[in-house]
C-alpha cells in the first residue's frame, strides 16, 4: 500500500471513527432513549424484537402528543438501537458511547454476560464521590440472570422474577395434578441464566413444595449429542422433567428423549424458551411443555401492543414486552421528575430518571401491574403457557399482583 491508499484508508478510517456519537440536532425537544442488545449471533432475534418494541412504543407515545417536559413543553421520544453482539467488551464500549451521547437512559442488554460487566463499570452507590464508575441509568429489558441489579444503584431491571413464577407453578401443579410427585432436571451448564434457574430457582422451590428431586442431567449450550443425558433422565423415572436450557439444546434433548422413548407425565421449560424459537425448532417434541412467562396477548392492551410491534418487524414476547413497558414507564418518570431534555441538562436529567426509577414501587405492564423491589428488580405478573399444536396457549393465569 503506498501513500495515496494509505492516506485514503486512514482518512476513511478517521472519518468513520469521528462520525459517531449522535450529532446534536437543533430541532424541537427530543428525549433520547437508546436501546442496545444483540443484533448478531444466535441471539439476534432478541435484539430485533427489543428494537421493534422500543420503536413501536415510542411511535405510539409520539403520535399521541409526546412527553411533557419539565417546563411544560412537549418532547418527542427518539429511539436508537445499538448492537453489542452479546460480547462483554463491546457492550461496555456501546454503553460508553451511549453515555457520551445525549441519551438520557439506556434499555438493554440482551445477554446476562454483558449485563454483568456493564453493571460493574457503573457507579456502585449513587453519589459516592470516591467511586469513578459511570453514572448512567440502565433499565434492562432482557438479561434475566437472577440478582444482577444489586451490582449498581444505576442499574434497574424489568425482568420476571423467576423464583416467584416457578414457586407458583409448582404450587399450582401440586394442587391440580396431585399424581405428580417427583421431578428431574436438565440444565445447560455453561449458560449463567439457565444454571441459576435450575440450581437456585426450580430445584429449590420444587423441593419446598414437597416434590422429590431425582437429580439432574447436565449439558452444554452447543451440545448435539444427548444420549447419556436422555438415558439418565429415563432411569430417574420422574413424573416431571424440568429443562433449564435455551431453545437449541432444549430441542436437542427433547428429540433424544423422544428417540429413547422417555415420556415424563409433564415437561417444564425455561422462561426464555417460551418464544417462537422453541416451536420453530421442535414443535412436535415440545408439545404440552409448560412454561411460566410474563407475557401473552391475553387482553386488548397486549394484543394492540403486539400488533403495533409487528408493524415494526418484530414480535412481542416476554422480553420485548418488557422493552415496550419500559418506554411507557420512562415516559411517566420523565413527566413526574420534570426532566428538561435540553443539551445542558443531560447530567441532571439522567439523575432525575435514576431517582424516578429508584422511587417506583409499582409499575404498569401489559398484562397487569408489577411490583418493584428495593434492590431495583421487578416482580412481574405472569401466567403459564403450554405448547399446543405448534402454538403457545395460555394454560393458567394466577391471580395478578
Amino acid at each position: 500500500m503506498s501513500i495515496a491508499r494509505t492516506t485514503a484508508l486512514s482518512a476513511a478510517l478517521g472519518l468513520a471513527l469521528l462520525a459517531i456519537p449522535g450529532t446534536a440536532q437543533a430541532q424541537e425537544r427530543q428525549v433520547k432513549i437508546t436501546g442496545f442488545g444483540a443484533m448478531s449471533g444466535v441471539v439476534r432475534s432478541f435484539g430485533i424484537n427489543s428494537k421493534a418494541a422500543l420503536e413501536a412504543a415510542a411511535d405510539r407515545i409520539n403520535r399521541s402528543g409526546g412527553v411533557t417536559l419539565g417546563d411544560g413543553a412537549k418532547g418527542k421520544i427518539v429511539i436508537e438501537f445499538l448492537d453489542d453482539r452479546c460480547n462483554a467488551e463491546e457492550g461496555i464500549s456501546v454503553l460508553r458511547r451511549i453515555a457520551s451521547s445525549e441519551a438520557l437512559v439506556a434499555v438493554g442488554p440482551t445477554c446476562s454476560n454483558v449485563a454483568e460487566p456493564l453493571f460493574g463499570i457503573l457507579q456502585k452507590k449513587f453519589g459516592d464521590a470516591g467511586d469513578t464508575g459511570l453514572q448512567f441509568p440502565i433499565f434492562t429489558d432482557v438479561a434475566i440472570k437472577i440478582g444482577l441489579a444489586k451490582i449498581s444503584e444505576w442499574a434497574f431491571r424489568n425482568v420476571p422474577n423467576e423464583t416467584e413464577m416457578y414457586a407458583t407453578l409448582f404450587k399450582w401443579l401440586k394442587a391440580t395434578k396431585p399424581n405428580l410427585k417427583t421431578i428431574y432436571g436438565g440444565v445447560e451448564e455453561n449458560f449463567a441464566h439457565s444454571r441459576a434457574t435450575w440450581y437456585a430457582v426450580m430445584k429449590e422451590v420444587a423441593a419446598k413444595e414437597g416434590f422429590e428431586i431425582k437429580g439432574e442431567s447436565k449439558w452444554l449450550l452447543e451440545d448435539t449429542n444427548f444420549s447419556n443425558q436422555a438415558r439418565e433422565a429415563k432411569k430417574a423415572e420422574a413424573d416431571i422433567i424440568a429443562i433449564a436450557a435455551h431453545p437449541f439444546s432444549t430441542c436437542g434433548m427433547l428429540k433424544e428423549m423422544a428417540r429413547q422413548g422417555v415420556k415424563p407425565k409433564l415437561l417444564i421449560g425455561l422462561t426464555s424458551s417460551s418464544s417462537t424459537e422453541t416451536l420453530q425448532g421442535c414443535a412436535g417434541e415440545a408439545e404440552a411443555i409448560i412454561i411460566p412467562t410474563s407475557f401473552a396477548p391475553i387482553n386488548d392492551q397486549a394484543r394492540a401492543a403486539a400488533d403495533a410491534v409487528s408493524k415494526f418487524k418484530g414480535s412481542l414476547d416476554l422480553h420485548s414486552g418488557a422493552a415496550w413497558e419500559n418506554v411507557f414507564i420512562l415516559k411517566k418518570i420523565i413527566e413526574e421528575q420534570k426532566v428538561m431534555a435540553k443539551p445542558d441538562t443531560v447530567k441532571a436529567d439522567r439523575e432525575k430518571i435514576r431517582a424516578g426509577l429508584a422511587k417506583l414501587t409499582v409499575t404498569d405492564g401489559l398484562i397487569g401491574k408489577s411490583k418493584r423491589t428495593p434492590d431495583r428488580e421487578a416482580i412481574k405478573p405472569y401466567l403459564f403457557v403450554h405448547a399446543k399444536a405448534g402454538k403457545w396457549e395460555v394454560l393458567h393465569t394466577p391471580a395478578v399482583n
Partner: protein, 334 residues
C-alpha cells in the same frame, strides 16, 4: 469523550494480545493458546487485587508471570509439533485452560457476600479501577503506558540480534539449526514471552471489564490474537497495532453507523484485506515506502516526488486486479 477513552482501552489491550501472538509467530509458530494464557493472567491478577487486596501493578506482573510459567511448560512439548499440528495442539491446550476455569471455584466471604471466581457463573465485581478513583482517562493512560513499554521492548528486540535469531528460526528451522542456534531455547523463550504479554493483557482485561468468565477466553479470542499480527504483517510491531485499529476501531466501532450491515462486512472485509494485502496491512515494503515518503514530505524539494509516489500507489492498487486477470486467463486458457 468517555467513549473514545474506552475504545482506546480496548485497542490497547487487544494490541497487547496481538503482540503476544506476534512474538510467537516470529519463530514460525502459530499459537491458538494465547486466549488461555490471557485467562490465566486475568484470573490470577483479579484474584490478587480482589481477594488478597494487592496493588494493581504487582498483581498484573504476577498474573503475567503465572501465564509465562504455564506457557514455558507448554513450550517444551509443543516443540515436537509444527504447522497445523501445532495450531491444533495449542488450540487444545488453550481450550483446556478455559475449561479449567469453567470448573474453578474459589470464593471467600467478604463484607457479607461471597466474592471470587465461581465456575460457570464467572468472577464478578473486579472493581479496582472505580473503587480507587481511577478515571477512564487514567485507566487509558495506564494501559497505553503498558502497551508503550511492551512495544518499545519488542521494537528494540526486533532490531537487535534476538530479533534476527527469532526470525531466522521462523524462516528456516533447519538453516537456523545448522547455523548453531538452539531451537529449543529460542522457541520456548518466544512462547514464554508471548505468555507473559498475554497474561498482562488478561489482567488489564479483567480490571476494565470488572467481570470475567470462561466464555471471554474462547477460540474466537484466540483466533483474533493471531489475526492481528497476520492481518497487520510481521515486519514490525506497528503492523499488529494497525490491525487492531482496523478491527476494533474500524470494523467494530467505526462501521457502527452501517447498522445491520456492519456484522456482514466484518468477515467480508477480512477476506478482502487478505486478498488485497496477503503480506499484511503493513508489510516490510510498505513500511520502508512509508518512511521514505515521510522523509520526502518533510523535505519541500521533493513535493513532486510525493505526487509520483501517489501515482505509484494507484498502480500498486491495481496489483490485485492484475493478479485477478492473470488468474482468469490461466483458468480459461485464454
Amino acid at each position: 469523550m468517555d467513549f473514545y477513552l474506552g475504545l482506546l482501552q480496548i485497542i490497547g489491550v487487544h494490541t497487547l494480545l496481538g503482540l503476544s501472538a506476534y512474538v510467537v509467530l516470529l519463530t514460525g509458530q502459530v499459537s491458538l493458546a494465547q486466549a488461555g494464557f490471557m485467562a490465566i493472567g486475568a484470573y490470577v491478577s483479579a484474584m490478587l487485587t480482589v481477594l488478597a487486596k494487592w496493588a494493581l501493578v504487582p498483581a498484573l506482573l504476577t498474573g503475567g508471570a503465572a501465564a509465562a510459567a504455564v506457557a514455558c511448560l507448554v513450550g517444551f512439548p509443543a516443540l515436537r509439533v509444527r504447522g497445523l499440528m501445532l495450531v491444533v495442539a495449542t488450540l487444545a491446550f488453550g481450550e483446556a485452560v478455559r475449561l479449567f476455569f469453567f470448573n474453578f471455584d474459589y470464593q471467600i466471604a467478604m463484607g457479607g457476600i461471597k466474592v471470587g471466581p465461581l465456575g460457570g457463573e464467572g468472577f464478578r465485581q473486579i472493581r479496582y479501577f472505580p473503587e480507587n478513583g481511577w478515571t477512564t482517562f487514567q485507566v487509558m493512560v495506564f494501559i497505553w503506558l503498558t502497551v508503550g513499554v511492551v512495544m518499545t521492548a519488542l521494537w528494540w528486540m526486533d532490531r537487535s540480534r534476538v530479533g534476527a535469531v527469532l526470525r531466522a528460526v521462523g524462516e528456516d528451522e533447519v538453516a537456523a539449526q545448522s547455523a548453531g542456534l538452539n531451537l529449543t531455547a529460542v522457541k520456548v523463550s518466544a512462547m514464554t514471552l508471548g505468555g507473559f504479554i498475554a497474561g498482562v493483557a488478561g489482567g488489564l482485561y479483567a480490571h476494565y471489564t470488572t467481570h470475567i468468565e470462561q466464555g471471554n477466553f474462547n477460540v474466537l479470542v484466540a483466533t483474533f490474537a493471531i489475526a492481528y499480527p497476520i492481518l497487520g504483517g510481521l515486519s514490525n510491531v506497528f503492523g499488529t497495532l494497525a490491525a487492531v485499529v482496523f478491527i476494533q476501531g474500524f470494523l467494530i466501532e467505526g462501521l457502527r453507523f452501517l447498522g445491520d450491515w456492519r456484522n456482514l462486512l466484518f468477515g467480508a472485509l477480512i477476506v478482502l484485506a487478505m486478498n488485497v494485502r496477503p503480506g499484511g496491512l503493513l508489510d516490510a515494503q510498505t513500511m520502508s515506502k512509508g518512511l521514505s515518503a515521510l522523509r520526502r514530505l518533510l523535505d519541500p524539494a521533493y513535493g513532486s516526488a510525493a505526487a509520483r509516489q501517489a501515482i505509484d500507489g494507484l498502480k500498486d492498487a491495481g496489483a490485485m486486479f492484475r493478479r485477478l486477470i492473470a488468474k482468469w486467463k490461466g483458468a480459461f486458457g485464454a
